[in-house]
């Protein structure tokens, strides 16, 4: 029985580090049904080039570890079908932008999480185990704001989309500011005064120019743009009241 020739993909994959020696290397990969970009990368590493470094974990769109730049746009590779993004028979896979490349498709996420901490992205408790449960009405305006922004899993796609991150090294970035916004609207949180100071200014919410690439690209359909606009209103009110 004659085997039908599989359709082939030409895939340009970034190899190397941040030292300037990096370049794209082309691999030829057989096309498969319902193939994702992560499938392609895995196939290359297992069958063609075991030296290729890349990250993944859950491979089902829950953890955000597999985020890479696909044909110029940051995406979760486990949730990106080749059929959707391959222009003709070509694919281009590169590491996330705006972050230092460790090797090949792996980036150093420390700066991303350091900025999360700098933006006050941790909950500051005010109650103890002896206190009763906090009552937070889900329909309250503040809680609605939190719920709209809370599902962030810290994948870094928004950070890798943002031009301001590239132009302003101190800029905390959309994810960190989005998380700060959820905490500023959390009535249980005790760190709201300090956090407002942390997210104000040229390194904070005021550096956002509403380019909205973050909102365009967020795989969870969140809107850091809206959260940052909210922080602008909050900080402005505080500044006018002399509370900032």
């Amino acid at each position: 029985m004659a085997m039908r020739e599989p359709e082939l993909l030409e895939v340009d994959v970034w190899r190397g580090g941040s030292d300037g020696s990096g370049r794209f290397q082309t691999y030829v990969v057989p096309r498969q049904e319902a193939q994702t970009i992560l499938d392609v990368v895995t196939w290359i590493q297992r069958k063609l080039d075991p030296t290729l470094a890349y990250r993944f974990a859950c491979r089902v769109g829950m953890c955000g570890s597999c985020a890479m730049t696909v044909n110029g746009r940051p995406r979760w590779t486990c949730r990106t079908h080749v059929a959707k993004v391959a222009s003709g028979k070509r694919l281009q896979i590169a590491p996330l932008a705006n972050l230092t490349i460790v090797r090949d498709l792996v980036v150093d996420m420390r700066e991303f999480f350091d900025k999360w901490a700098k933006a006050g992205g941790q909950f500051t408790p005010t109650a103890s185990r002896r206190d009763d449960f906090a009552r937070v009405a889900p329909e309250s305006p503040a809680r609605r704001e939190v719920d709209a922004a809370i599902e962030c899993i810290g994948c870094g796609v928004c950070y890798a989309s943002c031009d301001v991150v590239a132009w302003n090294p101190a800029y905390l970035g959309p994810a960190a500011l989005n998380r700060a916004w959820t905490l500023q609207n959390d009535v249980r949180d005790g760190g709201r005064v300090a956090r407002l100071a942390a997210v104000a200014g040229d390194a904070g919410c005021h550096a956002c120019h509403t380019q909205a690439a973050c909102t365009e690209r967020c795989p969870k359909q969140l809107s850091p743009t809206a959260a940052i606009a909210g922080l602008k209103r909050m900080t402005a009110r505080a500044a006018l009241k002399g509370e900032l």
């Binding site: 301001v164 132009w167 302003n168 100071a197 942390a198 104000a200 200014g201 040229d202 390194a203 904070g204 005021h206 602008k232 900080t235 402005a236 500044a239 006018l240 900032l244």
Partner: protein
Amino acid sequence: MSARGETRLWLAQRASAAVLALCVLVHLATMIIAVNGGLTAADILGRTRGNPAWGAFYAVFVAAVAIHAPIGLRTIGAEWLHWRGRGADLCWLAIGVALFVIGIRAVAAVAL
């Protein structure tokens, strides 16, 4: 500059933007109507000379622009030319003052 200072700068830019929104609407309408068939000095000065209302309007316009433009340029300088810090801030402040001075001079030229 501190976070508080930068927040105030942002507020000043948005406040001046709101003022400019009104001034620019008036200015655009004026230009479109006034430029009918060509513009002469007499056209301009006939409208503005000795008229305190136009004088006041343009004075406010100039003040708002002198606040708004340098703050915007400061952001562009920081992001695209990587020019930040105390020196840059003082430079932009000086440009704002200079803009105000030549602007008020122009208002005086046409309104007094």
